[in-house]
């Protein structure tokens, strides 16, 4: 009787991040970003990422911060044009169908965008609450934008974006009176996924009733702007500290 000899398989231990190559490019991006504080904005399409930038950029500009914006969309440079109108350098990545940005796409864009003096770089990811969460771009933080019209169950249904983000912006709060969505429940659900989320409630339109006098922004938007300013300050301090330590051989 002929015995069929089963070929032995070799086992190779790997123990590596599955997206190791993306991680390496993300690390290069981090070096190129330098002192700039980099925010990777995640959300479903239409939650108001670009509107948020239109509202917050003038506030940060007034505070003397220099900015640059990388826009990611499946098609068109419409969002880049909206940022151009604010007088801030912007580069549009057109993914031609891909549902997320990856580190290589951002790396390619960095040669074509003036980031030399930037204190803050916003990367507006492709509108999609799932796919962009898997790809590190070299950012300092992810910020997820959820508009109230999407419903208060979304942090539970799409947890990865909330788990990986440092900041949650709950946008379109001006529409709450017309919806069944409950602000408290959005917050409770988001915190159940990630208890450390910093949360800002914003509206990009209308003069909100809690708007501080003389400002077109509501408290949440100014809070987010304040968070960015503070983050720029602490990143600079951290880098200077590291530089000094190195200089002293510590």
């Amino acid at each position: 009787m002929k015995s069929v000899r089963k070929k032995e398989l070799r086992t190779i231990r790997v123990q590596k991040n599955a997206l190791g190559t993306n991680e390496e490019i993300a690390l290069k991006n981090k070096t190129i970003f330098g002192k700039a504080f980099v925010v990777n904005l995640l959300s479903s399409p239409g939650s108001g990422k670009t509107s948020l930038l239109e509202a917050v950029i003038p506030v940060l500009k007034d505070a003397g911060l220099k900015m640059a914006v990388i826009e990611g969309d499946v098609d068109t440079d419409l969002d880049k044009k909206r940022i151009d109108a604010l007088g801030v350098p912007a580069y549009q990545i057109v993914t031609n169908g891909t549902c997320h940005l990856d580190a290589r796409m951002v790396n390619n864009s960095l040669g074509r965008l003036d980031i030399k003096n930037a204190d803050v770089i916003f990367i507006e990811n492709v509108g999609n609450l799932v796919c962009p969460t898997s790809f590190n771009l070299g950012e300092d933080i992810k910020a997820v934008v959820l508009s109230v019209t999407e419903g208060d169950d979304k942090p539970l249904k799409y947890p990865a974006a909330f788990y990986k983000s440092r900041v949650l912006i709950i946008n379109k709060t001006d529409l709450l009176p017309f919806l069944k969505a409950d602000l408290e429940r959005i917050i409770k659900n988001a915190l159940s996924v990630n208890k450390d989320l910093k949360i800002f409630e914003t509206s990009c339109y209308g003069i909100p009733k809690d708007s501080p006098a003389g400002s077109a922004c509501d408290k949440g938007m100014l809070g987010f702007a304040g968070f960015i300013k503070e983050s720029v300050r602490s990143k600079t301090a951290r880098l200077q500290g590291a530089f000094l330590n190195k200089g002293l051989g510590i």
């Binding site: 190779i12 231990r13 947890p159």
Partner: protein
């Protein structure tokens, strides 16, 4: 939807680190998958059956699920 990109990312990572040198077929890949990784394991398995690198087309993907957000390649079983 992005599982195809992740599959390509896994193959790139394995290749660039020399794990595929002299390998004619990958029979199985053991992956640790966090519940917050944002990856659908069925789509990821499906993606490998369709990648250009034919050595992966018959690969069985063995997922070990856990609580974090990691996607880690633990081991590969190869000819």
């Amino acid at each position: 939807m992005h599982e195809f990109s992740v599959a390509i990312g896994i193959i790139d990572t394995l290749r660039e680190n020399g794990y595929l040198d002299g390998v004619s077929r990958v029979a199985k890949i053991k992956i640790n998958l966090g519940k917050y990784s944002g990856i659908d394991k069925n789509y990821l398995s499906f993606a490998f059956q369709n990648v250009d690198d034919k050595r992966f087309n018959g690969a069985e993907i063995d997922f070990v699920l856990n609580d974090g957000d990691e996607i880690t390649i633990k081991e590969i079983y190869v000819d």
